[in-house]
Amino acid sequence: MSGTNELCIYPRFAAVGDTGLSVEFASVIDPAVSALVRALDLAIAASDIPGIVETIPSFRTLLVVYEPEDIGLDTLTQQLQHLVSLGLNVRSITGRSWTIPVAYGFPDDEDLREVAAASKLPPDEIVAIHSSALYRVYVVGFVPGLPVLGGLPTALHLSRRPDPRPDLPAGRVMIGGMQGIIVPMPMPSGYYSLGQTPVRPYQRGAANPFLFRPGDHIRFQPITAAELDLLTGVPSDRFLSAEDE
């Protein structure tokens, strides 16, 4: 399929059962595509389209959940087409920025050494590469509050571990495939653990316990185990370095 045709077929609308409409912007993972998803999400939130129950952004699609008693599929599709045709304002949307401290190699450097062996890079270099990149939160999901990060440098793209680790604690900073994650609550994962952050993506008991939103940007900053100890318990929103514009 040529590039021109690609443009013609997107956004592509696909029904998901009787209450869902998926709006797909591309078949690739790309910051510009993610920005379109977010822009439509914000445009819907600012619109007065009736019958929208909730929206769920992911890498290249926005799932719109609707109540058919309040809006038909054709009307909904037209209204969303209209929002798209008005021009999704991608430039004005910067997202929030976070600086997330990480004690690399904490509590042990077993996975870091495995990554070193697989990538043929020394552990110091892995830390330097991982902490110099700018990451974008593409999706919050799989597990409540879990940020899925794009922007992992290609030198660190690795196949997942052959056997998942069963019980990872909250705050683990991990990589797998082309992505990074920060563990929000105890979970198994086939990703490699690079270190531990005092930041908690999920804060049980808070009114809005989810720290990250799609479109947020994250940088990782290396800290020592002693600094991790000092920062543990510090409210996670202190690590916000810039608000939305």
Partner: protein
């Protein structure tokens, strides 16, 4: 000081508090949860005078033993065929009853269905989380401390005593045996035409791998035309996703919010309750319908849910 409570004497392993489910938090990765069979939840609630989506106890295969630590409590059980006794006396199906302090409620198994509901008049005095009392066990959110109900647990009740209204009953609803209706997609284009037609023209069987997250189906294997990895996107309960093995998995209320397998079709909301109630070994056939047809069916389904409250009536005096 202890308020009124329902006490779990010998609960079965998968008892949780469920209501109509939560909405608005899927964008943060939090599943909607909620009753696997919303129709049965509505029936149990309406028999005790609650609104249709009030939180009730949901159990799988059988309900176990319960007592009340209050003056009395009006209860009702829904889901077809769950044998129920109070102090050894059989309770007629779909009929409310009063459980007095010291009496023992025993909910046995059903030969026909999976999920049953025990509703209590007035509901449970448990704070909602994210707008719902539904339990999502995997993330420890909602319900009673986010978990299944364990033996000895005490579930706080709103009402201390049952009011003196007559008991209510309703006739057993007709169990539809029509095929399960799906809307194709959102990724039916990831499958060859032969596979789509195989899904729609074969019999699949519900297996023992069934829980609140997903039902694995056994039947003809489906083949992908463009591989089985998609860029992960949002999923909904009812989505039929097909991993590399070619065996379809039907996502249920507790499923994660995002998935990376292509979804060949999605079961409509009105039929998801019905499939949820299918025991292992049951045969399920799928038929594809248009979104417009699905919406017409939804209108009838929602009207039916509305009607349930009107269909329950006072117990005829011969039975009391």
């Amino acid at each position: 000081m202890h308020g009124p409570a329902l006490r779990a004497i010998a609960p079965t392993p998968f008892v949780t508090i469920q209501d109509g489910g939560r909405r608005g938090w899927r964008r943060f990765g939090l599943a909607g949860a909620g009753a696997m069979d919303k129709m049965s939840l509505a029936i149990a609630n309406s028999l005790v005078g609650n609104r249709a989506t009030e939180a009730a106890l949901e159990f799988a295969y059988a309900g176990g033993e319960w007592t009340v630590e209050a003056g009395s409590c009006r209860i009702a059980i829904a889901g077809a065929g769950f044998s129920t006794k109070i102090d050894g006396v059989v309770l007629p199906p779909l009929t409310s009853a009063i459980l007095q302090r010291g009496q023992r409620l025993r909910i046995g198994s059903s030969p026909r269905q999976v999920w049953g509901y025990l509703a209590v008049a007035g509901g449970f005095a448990i704070a909602p989380q994210f707008g719902s009392r539904s339990t999502h066990v995997r993330t420890r959110i909602g319900g009673l401390r986010g978990g299944t109900i364990q033996a000895g647990a005490s579930l706080p009740l709103v009402a201390y005593r049952a009011n003196d209204e007559p008991e209510r009953t309703m006739s057993i609803p007709h169990e539809e045996e029509d095929p399960c209706r799906v809307v194709l997609g959102p990724q039916d284009d990831f499958f060859c035409e032969a596979s789509v037609s195989l899904l729609l023209n074969s019999e699949y069987h519900v297996t023992w791998q069934q829980d609140r997250m997903a039902y694995r189906l056994d039947g003809p294997k489906l083949s992908h035309s463009k591989g089985y990895n998609i860029i992960s996107d949002a999923v909904m309960p009812g989505c039929i996703q097909v991993p590399g093995t070619g065996t379809p998995i039907l996502l249920m209320r507790d499923a994660g919010t995002v998935g990376g397998y292509p979804k060949i079709a999605t079961v409509i909301e009105a039929d998801l309750c019905r499939v949820a109630q299918m025991r292992p070994g049951s045969a399920v056939k799928f038929v594809a319908i248009s979104v417009a047809e699905a919406h017409a069916i939804r209108r009838r389904y929602l009207a039916r849910l509305q009607l349930i409250a009107e269909e329950t009536g006072p117990l005829p005096s011969a039975l009391t």
